[in-house]
């Protein structure tokens, strides 16, 4: 059981944390109309009579949204309800065009399921339901509030955990794992910066063995890091408030916003009015019944999930847990890796090329770049790796070739020839360079004879320089040692 020590009294308190995560589904069009589901467009350019709530407009459900929602639920081992319905959640706000959100109240499309943390602790989900997103109200653009409805109507799945998380770290891990799974099945890209993942936290603290105390809701958390920071702050804040002994200071049931600049949470509203959303079944939308055969199809079509892949990489490929983690974290990377190691034994090497050089190249292109954009195919990478393994290319040359492959989209073989990067392995030539490098290096030779290996580095460097980087480093080292030790 996770505990947090009070900074003031040193007493151990137990945080009780639940997360409500909203993810935008990666459909082409909105949930109930054909407007494009696209981030970053000019304001009010993806809006129609339906999603702007014009009088007389009606919703029609997007089949793909249901598929993706089901895939996400299957990936989390949820119990899929045989039928579900939509309800209207009624409230007023400037970004809510119909004056109600279409959501699911008492018959969500799935319940149960969960996520297993690295510690083995399982975080259970209460439910996941479908709903349509609201538009955006922008308050800091001028003297009024500006409303953009591009986002209104985008499909969301809202997943709610049981209050089983017990620390900020666990919350961070949970979010990371949830994001992985949703990305893997293609349900959502879960990008907090783009708003395709939003997270609210419900948090209270209690002394070990106690009943639950007052819970507080945290909103306005726009990164996983901020979720962690907000939770850390709030835990201490609540502990202090309880320990103050002053009833007027005790935590109250309210919504608090996180201020990322100052790292604190503050009250959003003076007093939380319990919302009466007056849920009732939406008469414009018929019931959704899940066809068992189609559900089985979706289940079969699920990719192998990250946890399973990680385990397999360690067991089958002998990769370290760290490497397995990094490779399995994103589906695109993982799929790439698996194709690149088909029929080779260069597993560790391939993994390194992907997690180091390819990742760096991808990051250079921007936060949203994909591996595919680099223009290097898994087979192409495999070819290059094989050349290095065969000694045709030095590792340094390999890096050059890879960079050229990214730039020109040509194959490794072609580039090696074009750039003349073939490693020199010819003993005669290498010996010549080595002898040259050893000229005037009596001290180095003496050191080497003495067993001090340090000196070899600079000598190899000399040979690499003389050879324009093409000398095979390990052969060079061999020959240098032979010459140095054999000489005189």
């Amino acid at each position: 059981m996770s505990e947090v020590l009070s900074k003031t009294s040193g007493v151990a308190w137990t945080p009780v944390i639940g997360l409500e995560v909203h993810c935008q589904l990666a459909t082409k069009s909105k949930l109930f109309c054909g407007c494009a589901n696209e981030f970053g467009a000019a304001p009010n350019t993806h809006v129609c009579p339906v999603c702007s709530g014009q009088p007389g407009a009606l919703p029609v459900m997007n089949a793909r949204a249901l598929e993706l929602a089901l895939s996400a639920a299957l990936a989390l081992d949820c119990d899929i309800a045989p039928w579900s319905k939509f309800d209207r959640k009624n409230y007023f706000y400037c970004d809510l065009p119909k004056g109600y959100q279409i959501s699911q109240f008492d018959k969500p499309y799935c319940t149960g399921g969960g996520v297993e943390l690295a510690s083995g602790k399982r975080i259970h989900l209460t439910r996941i339901h479908l709903e349509d997103d609201a538009g955006k109200a922008i308050h800091d653009r001028g003297p009024h509030t500006f409303v953009d409805l591009n986002r209104a109507g985008i499909p969301l799945i809202e997943s709610v955990t049981e209050p089983e998380l017990a620390s900020a770290d666990e919350a961070f891990e949970y979010l990371t794992l949830l994001k992985e799974v949703f990305q893997y099945v293609g349900a959502s890209d879960c990008d907090m910066e783009k708003g395709s993942l939003r997270c609210d936290v419900n948090i209270s603290v209690r002394l070990p063995g106690e009943e639950l105390r007052t819970k507080v809701e945290l909103k306005n958390l726009n990164s996983f890091r901020n979720v962690k920071a907000a939770i850390d702050f709030e835990i201490q804040r609540q502990i202090e408030a309880w320990e103050s002994g002053d009833e007027s200071k005790y935590p109250v049931q309210e919504t608090r916003l996180f201020d990322p600049n100052r790292g604190v949470t503050r009250t959003m509203r003076a007093k939380e009015d319990a919302h009466d959303y007056r849920y009732f079944p939406d008469p414009d939308l018929p019931v959704l019944r899940v066809d068992p055969a189609e559900l089985e199809e979706l289940r079969r079509a699920l990719p192998e999930l990250p946890a399973a892949r990680r385990a397999r990489y360690v067991a089958e490929f002998g990769l370290s847990e760290y490497d397995a983690d990094v490779l399995a974290a994103e589906r695109e990377v993982s799929d790439f890796f698996e194709r690149a190691v088909v029929g080779t034994d260069q597993v560790k090497e391939t993994a390194n090329w992907i997690t180091n050089e390819l990742s760096a190249a991808r990051n250079e292109r921007g936060p949203d770049a994909s591996l595919a954009e680099l223009g290097v195919t898994p087979e192409g990478l495999a070819e290059m790796v094989a050349l290095v393994a065969a000694g045709t290319l030095s590792k340094a040359a390999g890096r050059k070739v890879l960079a050229a492959m990214i730039e020109t989209n040509k194959s490794a073989k072609v580039l090696v020839a074009e750039l003349g990067l073939e490693q020199v392995q010819d003993t005669g030539q290498l010996e010549a360079w080595c002898r040259e490098a050893l000229v005037g290096q009596e001290q180095a030779i003496a050191d080497l004879k003495d067993g001090k290996q340090k000196a070899i580095g600079a000598l190899i460097g000399q040979v690499m320089k003389a050879s324009g980087g093409k000398a095979d480093p390990s052969k060079t080292r061999e020959i240098l040692m032979k010459l140095a030790l054999g000489d005189g």
């Binding site: 459909t27 082409k28 069009s29 109309c33 054909g34 407007c35 494009a36 000019a42 304001p43 009010n44 350019t45 993806h46 809006v47 129609c48 009579p49 702007s52 029609v60 459900m61 997007n62 089949a63 793909r64 949204a65 249901l66 039928w83 319905k85 409230y91 007023f92 706000y93 400037c94 109200a137 922008i138 308050h139 653009r141 001028g142 003297p143 009024h144 509030t145 500006f146 409303v147 953009d148 409805l149 306005n220 919504t255 916003l257 959003m268 509203r269 009466d276 007056r278 079944p281 939406d282 008469p283 414009d284 939308l285 018929p286 019931v287 959704l288 019944r289």
Partner: protein, 141 residues
């Protein structure tokens, strides 16, 4: 039991003088005689609906005069509907709307949206491609 609509020459309807269009309505089973099971809330006269609360929920800035008048209408209407609350419906399934189909879905294809000026044309206030409203700090209206 519902009063019939008044015709010219009718005396003012008094509470209790209710006549129904039913030819010979059979008395319906009353709730008290049923044992067990969850009983729905009966409507009682003491339970005056909070018109002001509803007005807040519905964003209607009603005047005190309206609150008085509409409140009175409210009570009379709910009283007239009292018969509804006395029916035993425990074993009856609710009708979720009148739609008889299931799974009405469309393909995930984009269709043309409105042009921004078309969309904004009916708006009372707009600026630079946005709808504009009085500033609000956060949360809901």
């Amino acid at each position: 039991m519902l009063p019939r609509p008044p015709s010219p020459g009718d005396p003012e309807p008094r509470a209790g003088t209710e006549r129904s269009l039913a030819y010979n309505p059979a008395p319906l089973p009353s709730l008290e005689s049923e044992a067990g099971g969850p009983q729905p809330e009966p409507m009682s006269n003491e339970n005056t609906p909070a018109v002001r609360k509803c007005a807040e929920l519905a964003r209607l800035e009603i005047t005190p005069e309206e609150e008085q008048r509409l409140g009175g209408d409210f009570e009379r209407i709910l009283e007239a509907f009292r018969g509804l609350t006395e029916l035993d419906v425990r074993s009856v399934e609710p009708m979720f709307g009148a739609a008889t189909r299931e799974n009405v879905v469309r393909e995930d294809e984009t269709r043309a949206s409105l042009e921004t000026d078309e969309l904004l044309a009916p708006a009372p206030r707009k600026d630079d491609g946005f709808f504009t409203v009085p500033k609000t700090v956060d949360g809901d209206a």
